[in-house]
């Protein structure tokens, strides 16, 4: 069994000003697995996710305690540059956010600024193929990223992230703005992607967590209530609160 840990969260507390959004959480995220963070809105799951690649650095009043280690090194270490963290740990956002440029440019930009030496068009094609979008857009790579449908835009954002060859992909409710058909396409894509990447997904949909993830953590009001294999969490959770949440008593 390959049980290599990619991200280890140790005693992490997250503050926004005076307000503690996440309270002393411990988590381990394994390589080439899909890890789901579930919980009712406001439970701190997105906040935690955005710490994994230091996107919270842009929030005023943000403060973190404890450590988040990526392959054994604290990403909040002084020696670590957030830019490098984000190169290793990519992110797909809740609402598709393509750049205001062509489909091709959306993908080619980041590798180019990072001094990618290979064939950019080839990389664009590979990334779009992996994101399952190539067939739909290959004839209009020059048209604007905004010209795509919502689901296509989200896959473009995934392709853009893949093009950077990250190790981990964070997904912050990637389907919440999409229709059911696009959602199922992206869920299939996630199972495909985990062969190569480690994925952490935040979702408010329990069915989605059950469908796509290998492991699940349930957060409630900033506390980690339970974490374990997805099959176990959804069939026989240890905690009463978890059971109530997955059976839809609240949320």
């Amino acid at each position: 069994m390959n049980k290599e840990t990619v991200i280890e969260v140790q005693k992490v507390g997250i503050w926004y000003g005076e307000n503690k959004a996440v309270k002393d959480i411990n988590l381990t995220i394994e390589r080439q697995k899909v890890f789901a963070l579930i919980g009712p809105s406001g439970c701190g799951k997105s906040t935690l996710l955005r710490c994994f690649n230091r996107m919270n650095d842009f929030v005023d009043g943000f403060r973190i305690e404890g450590s988040i280690s990526y392959r054994g090194m604290n990403i909040y270490d002084k020696k670590v540059d957030p830019v490098v963290v984000r190169k290793c740990i990519g992110m797909v956002f809740q609402k598709p956010n393509p750049f205001p440029s062509s489909i091709f440019e959306n993908i080619a930009w980041a590798p180019r600024i990072n001094g990618y030496k290979g064939d950019i068009s080839e990389l664009v094609e590979t990334s779009l193929t992996k994101a399952g979008l190539w067939k739909e857009v290959k004839d209009r790579l020059k048209s604007s990223g905004f010209s795509l449908s919502g689901g296509q835009q989200q896959r473009l954002c995934i392709a853009r992230t893949i093009a950077m060859q990250p190790d981990v992909i964070l997904m912050d409710e990637p389907c919440s703005a999409l229709d059911p058909i696009s959602t199922s396409i992206i869920e299939e894509l996630i199972s495909e992607l985990k062969k190569q990447y480690s994925i952490v997904i935040v979702t408010h949909s329990m069915q989605q967590a059950a469908r796509v993830s290998d492991q699940t953590a349930f957060l409630f009001r900033g506390d980690l209530i339970e974490m374990g294999d997805t099959s176990k969490i959804f069939s026989m959770p240890d905690q009463k609160l978890t059971k109530e949440y997955i059976s839809g008593k609240f949320g």
Binding site: Y70, R71, P166
Partner: protein, 305 residues
Amino acid sequence: MINLNLNSNATTKSEHPLLDQKGNLGKRKLKSYIFAFMCFLATVSVIGLIAYLILDTYLQGSAWINADFFTNFASRMPNKSGIKAALFGTIWLLGITALFSIPVGVISGIYLEELMKRGYFHRFISVNVSNLAGVPSVVYGIFGLAFFVRMLGFERSLLSGALTLSLMSLPVIIISTREAIAAVPSSIKMGALAMGATKWQTARDHIFPTALPGILTGVILALSRAVGETAPLIILGAVSFLAFVPQGWNDGYTALPMQIYTWVSKPQEEFHQLAAATIIVLLGVLLVANSIAIFIRIRSRKVKL
């Protein structure tokens, strides 16, 4: 094939992927820092430059500011010169301009934002107002010359000057009135309308009082722009040298910016210093006006909370 692959065998501590500074990262970060610094530098140097220009003006002119400077009329001899006529002229202009532009501007603003039906005609008036806001002040001056000075026969009087400045200030007042009214939460409006009030009653008793601080701020800014205007006054024939204080709207006049212009255009150093002294007075007046505007804005914010 892909050289930014980071997850291949990079597990030993010395070459941890997070510490991988290889490739172009150093150069990119340097560029990023330099760019950020340049943006900062641009901000600081523009503010610093204008501060220097004002400070230099202050040092040039401050020695000339004394009681005589305010009580003397302009003269051929610099040390006997003062700004009495210009100061009174500016006060007269400001008064008459306020008298015309505030009611017309505020009423038009309320009407356009709150009472008028949205439609083709509304759009037409709105576009027209924002067009007028972009018309250069010399063009207003030329219009004033043809209309007020010649056609209505007001000649080169305070009234011609003030009416022209009023028309120039109108668009600014209308636009800021509309913005202040648009900022009033619609819950207030809905609350009043739901009790069976007419649109006018709602506007008069609820929206207008709530928007008043914003409206006042806009009015002050518009009038302080009018106070500093020179070009239209030159075209309308404000006088360069005036040895009396205007007694009524029918009189000839000069004004502070006009006085500055006249003195700057003279070659002698002393007149430049007089101009500097007049600039101190003018900027002082504008600073007080702007401070009042800011004070109103801050106070109204406190009241709302």
